[in-house]
Each structure stands twice: as C-alpha cells, then as structure tokens.
C-alpha cells in the first residue's frame, strides 16, 4: 500500500488529512502547540508572525460559514494572507476540474490549501497531486471531506476534553447521533482511540450507523439512556435536515424523543460530564435548549479552542 500521504519521509506532518493513521505523538504535539495560542486571543494585538508572507487558500467546494471563518481567523492571527474561494459557485461550475483549480492556485504561489469538499478523499487527491507534481512545500489541511474526516474538528474536541478532563486514559466517552454520515464522528472516534480512551460508545439507531462500525473501536448502543450511563463526555452530532424524514428516520420529533439530549437523559451520565457539539445545533432535534445553554455544555469554548488548534496545525505544517 502507498505511504501515508500526510506524513513526510521523516514521519513528520506534511498535510493534515485524517486523524486515522496519525501517531499519538503528533496528535499530542498539536494539542500542546495550541495551548499558548489560546492566550493570543486575549491579547490586545492578536497576531503572531509565524505565517507572515505565506498565502493560505480557503478552498471550499461545499458551503460552510463557521469552519471557513475559524480557519480564516486562525490564519490571520498567524499573519498569513488569506484568500477565500467558494469554488462551488465559480470555476467548477464552468467545467474546470478539481486538479486544474489546484494547479492554477499553485501557480499563484499558494503555500497552503484548506479544503472542504463534498466527496470523501478529495483532499487526498490534492495531496497526491502535489506530490506527483513535486510541490513538497505546499500543504493541505482537510476542513471536511464527505463522510470521511474533519480532523481539525476532532482535534479541537480533544483539546476541549483535555482542558476539562486532563487524562484521556480514564474516560468513557459517548458519540451520539448520525454517525453514518458524519465525518466529525469518524475523526472523533479515531482521535479518542489514538489518545487512549478506554471506552468509546456509539449511540444511534441502526439506520444511522456505518457497516462494521465496531471495527473502529467503539461499543454500540441503540438505547441512549443505557449508552449515557456513567459517561464523562457526551459528544452530540448534528442531524442534517434532509435526513430527518424519509427512510432513515420517521420524524425530527421521534428522533428527539429517543436520541435527543435532554436534562433527564444527561442525568444518567456522571455528574461532572461535559457536553460537546460541533455546531450548528438543531435545538429540539438532537439537543434540548436547556442542555445546550446549561452548565455542562462546553460548546462555546469548543469554538474558541478551535481557532487555537487550527493555528497550531497551520504553524506546524508551515514549519515542518
């Protein structure tokens, strides 16, 4: 099989494509690097010169406001020049291929691509193309590809968990919701198992679980109450509108009844359990407002930490 395309020949980080296959040391190094960056946000001048003179292209083939904005803020805090491209509305609509777009931007001296794409594996295609065309100094950050991976989301979730819980090796963590279609869930599961979490639970109806999901190292629960019993961390997933009614689920109301996080269900978790959500939330579908706004939710700190983690990833890529 081909070499892991996100590592360089010395085993260092060349691209960030997926948490699967990343050595534990690199994951920890990213979290450690992010620590001091959280303080930058509190300064009067929120800028560091680490990416001065570098051009970061936000290459979004799928709409996203939040992720694109946080990447943009992260790059700007590192003093990079940021160019946002919503490709879904420009070149590919004119018939340009993904790799043609990339070649053109490389010719404009891009140093880094932050890529969001609806197809699983699209950032790999770009990374492999950069390798084939001998562009070792151009880096790719996967900002979400299809159902496959959203590694910076997984990392910021780990940062958040570490911030509140310190030791991963004593935790029970539940991931709840549409795991089948979720790149976030996959990145979370890989990150948790990589960092040594002894029990990762997947809670979902059978229609929203991928085939052989246990092979990813999770324990499957179909009863949310049973699955939440005694957990330290609850990671809720967003349910896309188009999946709420049809052959996967009958209705958002029924979903909320069985898989929505309410205060009474949360009461089954440990008293100090924290609740994460990648946003944007569907209140009253996967999470009750009382929980989302309650004392156990760490959803807004996730967003803040997300910027620091993305700064860490970009600075590590740019400096090898």
């Amino acid at each position: 099989m081909a070499r892991n395309p996100q590592l360089n020949s010395h085993g260092g980080l060349r691209h960030l494509l997926s948490i699967e296959g990343l050595p534990r040391e690199i994951v920890v190094a990213i979290l450690d690097t992010a620590e001091p960056f959280t303080e930058v946000a509190e300064r009067e001048v929120k800028k560091l010169p680490l990416l001065r003179g570098k051009s970061v292209f936000n290459l979004f083939f799928e709409n996203s406001t939040r992720t694109r904005t946080t990447f943009e803020i992260a790059a700007k805090r590192l003093s990079a020049d940021v160019i946002n491209l919503n490709v879904s509305t420009s070149s590919t609509a004119k018939g340009e291929t993904l790799l043609d777009t990339v070649d053109n931007l490389v010719a404009m001296q891009a140093d880094m691509f932050v890529v969001r794409h609806a197809s699983s594996g699209a950032p790999y295609l770009i990374a492999q193309h950069l390798e084939a065309t001998r562009r070792p100094n151009v880096h790719v950050v996967n900002a979400g590809d299809g159902r496959h991976a959203h590694p910076t989301q997984g990392l910021l979730d780990m940062y958040t968990i570490r911030h509140y819980k310190r030791d991963f090796t004593q935790l029970t963590v539940a991931v709840v919701g549409d795991i089948l279609h979720s790149r976030v869930a996959r990145s979370q599961i890989h990150a948790l198992t990589t960092l040594g979490v002894p029990e990762v639970r997947a809670i979902a109806p059978k229609t929203l679980l991928p085939s052989e999901v246990e092979r990813l190292g999770v324990r499957v629960f179909h009863d949310m109450r049973e699955g939440l019993r005694g957990v330290d961390v609850v990671m809720m997933l967003r349910l896309q509108n188009e999946r709420m009614t049809g052959s996967l689920l009958p209705s958002p109301q029924e979903y909320f009844k069985f898989f929505g996080l309410t205060e009474d269900k949360l009461a089954l978790a440990k008293p100090d359990a924290i609740v994460l959500h990648p946003g944007p939330m569907n209140r009253g579908v996967e999470i009750d407002s009382a929980v989302a706004d309650g004392g156990q939710a760490v959803i807004l700190p996730q967003v803040t930490f997300g910027i620091a983690v993305r700064m860490a990833v970009m600075s590590m890529l740019a400096h090898g």
Partner: protein, 425 residues
C-alpha cells in the same frame, strides 16, 4: 497460407490435450495436431520451443467503447490490445453510446471489427431500449444482426415485472440473457463494498445484500421462465452460495468473475485509489478467497477481464466521482496464470477458464484446437516477464489497479483465423 507451429507444448482443454505436439494450419483452420497431414508444406514455421500452444483466449466481457466513447478508446486500439493479450474472441456489453439496442448499430460494429481483422467480436444486445429497464428491444432482429446474448451491462432492470417479461420473451426464442446481479435500490449511491473499509473512508457502501437479493430474485425468475441465464461478475461468497444451491436443485445457470476480483479486495482501495473503483465493487478478502476457490473447482465457470478503458480525467477525481472500471484485455492471461500458480492448479485448468469454458457460456465454436476449427491460437510464453505500465499497455485505457506490477506470462504469437495478428518481439 499454411503455418506449422513446431516444437510447442499443446494445452487444449476442450480436447483434453496437454502434451508436446506440432500444430498445422491451412486456409484459416486447424488441420492437424500431432503429425502433419500428407503433403503439407508450410509457408511459415513458428518455432514454439519452450512455449505453450493454446486456443486463442476468449474474454467474456470487454468494452471497446465504440460507438460513442472514442475519447476513451477505439475499436482499433482495443482490438490491438486484445490480440496482444492473446485474446481472439471477445464479448462486448451493450453499454456504448447509443447502447446496442438497434440492429444497425450491431451490424456497424461487427462490420468495423471484421475489417480490422484482429479478434472476433461478439456483441451483446441491450435487453431493454437505451438500457433503461422499461421497454424490450427487438431481440429477434438484434440476434440476426449478430448479438449472441442480451444484457443490461452494469445497469439493472429495477422493475421486477419488466424483468420477468424480458426473460419470458428471451426464453420464447431461446436467447440467453446475461445479468450483473445487483439490486439497484440496495446499491443506491454506493461506490464501494459496504464494510469496514468503506466505513473508515466515509464511502457510501454497496452491501452484499444488493447482490444476494438480486440473485435470489433472478433465480426465481429463471425457474419460472426457463430462460438461459448467465450471472456476470459475481462478487461475494454469499452470492456464490445461492448459485451453488440453485444448481444443486437442478437450475441450469452459469456465472463468471472478473480477474480483478480474483486478486483484489476492498483493502486495496488504500488511500482512495480510484483504479480500485470497480463495478461490482471489490469486496472483502474472504469474498475474494471464496471466488478464487470457486473458479478453481468450476463452480464459477469462467473468468473475464471486464475490460473497461477509462480516460485519465474520469479517474483523477475523488473516489466516489470516478468512473468505474479497469483496463484488462492485456492482463487476463498473466492474472489468470498468477491465480493458477498461487492456487497450485495445472495450467490446463487455468486455460480452460479462458478458452473452452468461456466458449461454452458464449455458445460459440471457438476455444478449441480440434481439426476443422477456426485457427484461433495463442502461443504463450509462461515465464516471460510482463510488467504493467502506462507504456506497456496498448489499450488506450491506462487505468488498472495493477499498474506498476511485474506479472509473468504473455502471448508471444496470436493467430486469428490462421493469420498471425500479433507477434511479440
């Protein structure tokens, strides 16, 4: 033209010959195997010392891309690839553009292939108009134009009533029907085997159920209609078990497997290698191992290349957007030999699966060196290195998961109707 193939080792599974013999050809036909007929004087003698003399290979599925997809491949490029791979007869599925649903298209294809004079082309007619699964084609007219069977290529007739009627109609006239068993609804938007690999890569899955449900339905329909059905491209152990069971109950169906599925499984997708985007999808390693065994003991009747040349642009895209298929005409022989060697099978068994067994399924008088038969011959060097590279492939399609591999065994000479149509220097 009289040709004497001297000093070779003849393997002719159809006639149970596996021994050193000379072969004599005159007027496009085999005239003798063993001793020269009285008064035979050759115009040309081919020294086959150290080589295997076998019937020309028969490929049960090779897309030539004409008409309609000439930017992917042409009859000339692909028939050149065929004879370089030792293939002298091939069946082509009807998924051209337009599909082979009119006699005129079939006649044109046959005519163009005949003029090239390389390999025999046996087109499959579309079972339904435009392969849409709604309206039956004029099967009688298409058969007269040269279609040897009817198929939906890689598409499905989703409406079971239409399928029943298509099979009834085909059975009325004794036409055989080839179907790639896959339930269209269960396959959905899937692009890879629904299992651990697809789950990890976030690829939409095609469950084994899509194959087993389709096979179960089709077997019931065969029982009801008595149609001659061939299952094209079996991919799973569970699908195979259903066919075994049906045959044990006396239902006469046949099946084949692609050479890719003998050697690869879903794990080979690796980091989204689009060359492994195939239809049906590569399944688990246990499925692959079951297919390998079943081909060895004859429960799978034949192996084919499922040759599908795809242009680079259609492969250099994310996995799920890539066009399915792999080039294979030139790999059928070395990959079949590799399978036989790994399974410790006699060469004669391996060659049967791509000569006599394939001829039986196709219903053609080829795949034999019997005197009187057309002199379609493949002279094989079983030990010659056969590297797979963009440069070595004559097919216009350079898309294969085996790119970069060193295989062994190739055609040294290929004869069609007694003419040397390929010679490797």
């Amino acid at each position: 033209m009289k040709i004497h193939i001297a000093n070779g080792h003849v393997i002719d599974p159809a006639n149970q010959i596996d021994a050193p013999h000379d072969v004599f050809i005159a007027a496009g036909r085999i005239v003798a195997v063993g001793r020269a007929p009285d008064g035979f004087t050759a115009n040309r003698t081919i020294d086959a010392r150290g080589l295997i003399v076998a019937p020309g290979l028969i490929d049960l599925s090779a897309r030539l891309r004409e008409p309609g997809y000439e930017y992917k491949a042409t009859l000339e490029s692909e028939l050149t690839a065929a004879v370089a791979g030792g293939v002298t007869s091939l069946a082509c599925p009807p998924d051209t553009e337009p599909p082979l649903d009119e006699p005129g298209l079939v006649e044109m294809l046959k005519h163009r292939a005949r003029n090239l004079n390389l390999a025999h082309v046996y087109p499959h007619g579309a079972l339904t108009i435009k392969l849409k699964g709604q309206t039956l084609t004029e099967m009688g007219e298409l058969a007269e134009a040269g279609c040897v069977a009817f198929s939906q290529a890689n598409t499905q007739v989703r409406d079971t009533q239409v399928l029943l009627r298509a099979l009834q109609y085909a059975a009325t006239f004794g036409h055989s029907v080839w179907l790639q068993p896959q339930d269209g609804y269960l396959a959905g938007e899937g692009v890879a085997h629904d299992g651990e690999v697809a789950s990890r890569l976030g690829l939409a899955g095609i469950p084994v159920l899509a194959e087993t449900v389709a096979i179960s339905t089709m077997l019931q329909l065969v029982r009801a209609t008595g149609v001659r059905l061939h299952f094209a491209r079996i991919s799973s152990a569970a699908g195979l078990a259903l066919i075994d069971e049906a045959r044990a109950r006396g239902i006469a169906v046949t099946c084949d497997v692609s050479v890719n599925h003998l050697h690869l499984c879903d794990v080979d997708i690796g980091y989204f290698n689009t060359h492994c985007r195939l239809q049906p999808p590569l399944r688990s390693h246990t499925d692959r191992d079951a297919l390998r065994r079943a081909l060895a003991d004859g429960r799978i009747d034949a192996v084919c290349s499922d040759h599908t040349p795809v242009d680079d642009d259609a492969k250099q895209v994310p996995f799920g957007e890539a066009e399915a298929g792999a080039t294979g005409l030139e790999l059928l022989l070395p990959l079949t030999l590799k399978w036989a060697q790994e399974m410790k099978l006699p060469l004669a068994t391996a060659l049967a699966r791509i000569t006599s067994d394939a001829a039986r399924i196709l219903g053609i008088a080829a795949g034999t060196l019997r005197p009187g038969a057309a002199a379609d011959v493949c002279i094989i060097d079983p030990r010659a290195p056969a590297p797979v590279s963009r440069e070595s492939l004559r097919s216009q399609g350079k898309n294969t998961p085996f790119l970069g591999l060193e295989l062994t065994g190739c055609a040294r000479y290929t004869l069609t109707d007694g003419q040397v149509v390929f010679e490797r220097r």
